[in-house]
Symmetry: C2
Subunit: 247 residues, 2 copies
């Protein structure tokens, strides 16, 4: 039994997210498992580091898979990229220690959210950015983001009702940068994220940037620890899993 | 009768090119004319600067259209972007002198061709770049390109059989640049281009870059003035109309 680590990049536009849903093939996990099963003849289950939602993209998702196969990493890499659709690319296959687990061993994850802040359309980035015509106030958004940094109970920023698991997460870093082409990149690094957490944070930050809310509202919502206080959920298409860090 | 200048950006992946073909709506020109007809109630014919082929993109196509309407440029801009599909964006509408003609008044056109020179896939640029796994020799490609600069008869680089019109064009500038992400951008500026000219030039340059042909072959093909000597036509999806220059 060998353990393989995969790095995967995908345009999530057409998929119902990472996680396999029954037998529907329209998930990233489902597509990859189908190809690996075809290659090895085994029933395959891959473990992804992050369960990205429908429409969310990944520059670097990480997964691991245990197989009885004798295929080399290189032949798996070639086979996967030959049979996967063009919007899913495997960028690395490597044999790893048996104990490597793509989800449990995560030290931190980095997501980015892209906002095209322009009155003009751009057909080339329409599926990977949220377009906002109103000029966003960068300083106010940075202030709002600053209240969320550190270890907090992020219950207000998730749509999961369960109270069984802890909603405490450590949001280590948030950066907000606008380039000369009016693309604003929001980057979030954390030890883990609740379901919809970044999109719910982004919704608040964008409301602040538009001048619809004061920056301090981010702090008030956070401290209420009540998901009923969520202002909304930003569009999935602007979100992209950028990197997974391991020790 | 007013004359309007339009600037248009489009992802050409799904279209049969710029030029309207009978009554099929699947062209960029057709889409825009249909929306303008709906807005004005007039039969509308727009004149594009460049007849981009099926699958070719545009960062900035220019067109003009004469209308009897009293609509302002601003209301046309808003209406067009509301009713055009997301892969066609109008970025400017402005009233211009009656004598402005988007095609006849062109001083030069700039096209770019994008090659992703990597063994890895990138799902986000798959529709706007040609992917080449073999490392391309930049210096050899620059040498090949240099033979094509200036005013020449480019008969060898077109698929049009007609000998009635001149195939002499002035290719003023070609630049080839590779960035840190292994994206190579080829830029061509000329006073005009024959049908398929850039894609046929690109095919030769890429063969040189791959080491399949010597750089001097570009010169030999050019001087033969014989379209039977064409080596091939590079994929449409890497090509993008970047800019149209007027006086």
């Amino acid at each position: 039994m060998k353990n393989y680590k995969l790095e995967i990049s995908y345009d999530g536009s057409k998929y119902r997210g990472w996680q396999r849903l029954g037998n529907t093939p329209e998930t990233i996990q489902g597509k990859i498992e189908t190809v690996l099963s075809k290659m090895t003849g085994e029933k395959v289950e891959i473990i992804g580091a992050s369960r990205t939602d429908a429409g969310v993209h990944a520059k670097m998702q990480v997964a691991n898979v245990k197989l009885n196969t004798n295929h080399t990493s290189e032949s798996m890499y070639i086979y996967l990229n030959e049979y996967l659709p063009e919007d899913i690319c495997v960028t690395l296959v490597t044999e790893v220690d048996d104990r490597f687990h793509a989800r449990y061993n995560v030290v931190s994850k980095i997501y980015e959210y892209k906002v095209f802040n322009s009155v003009h359309g751009n057909p080339f980035i329409r599926k990977s950015t949220y377009k906002c015509e109103k000029e966003l106030n960068i300083e106010d958004m940075k202030e709002a983001a600053s209240y969320l940094l550190g270890e907090h109970d992020f219950t207000s920023f998730t749509n999961v009702k369960s109270k069984k698991k802890s909603n405490v997460r450590n949001l280590m870093n948030i950066t907000i940068e606008k380039d000369v082409n009016n693309m604003i990149t929001f980057e979030f690094e954390g030890d883990g994220f609740l379901h919809n957490m970044i999109r719910k944070i982004m919704y608040v930050i964008l409301e602040v940037g538009k001048g619809n809310e004061r920056p301090i509202v981010a702090k008030e919502i956070l401290e209420s620890r009540n998901r009923e206080n969520s202002l909304g959920t930003a569009l999935a298409k602007g979100l992209c899993l950028k990197e997974i860090k391991y020790n």
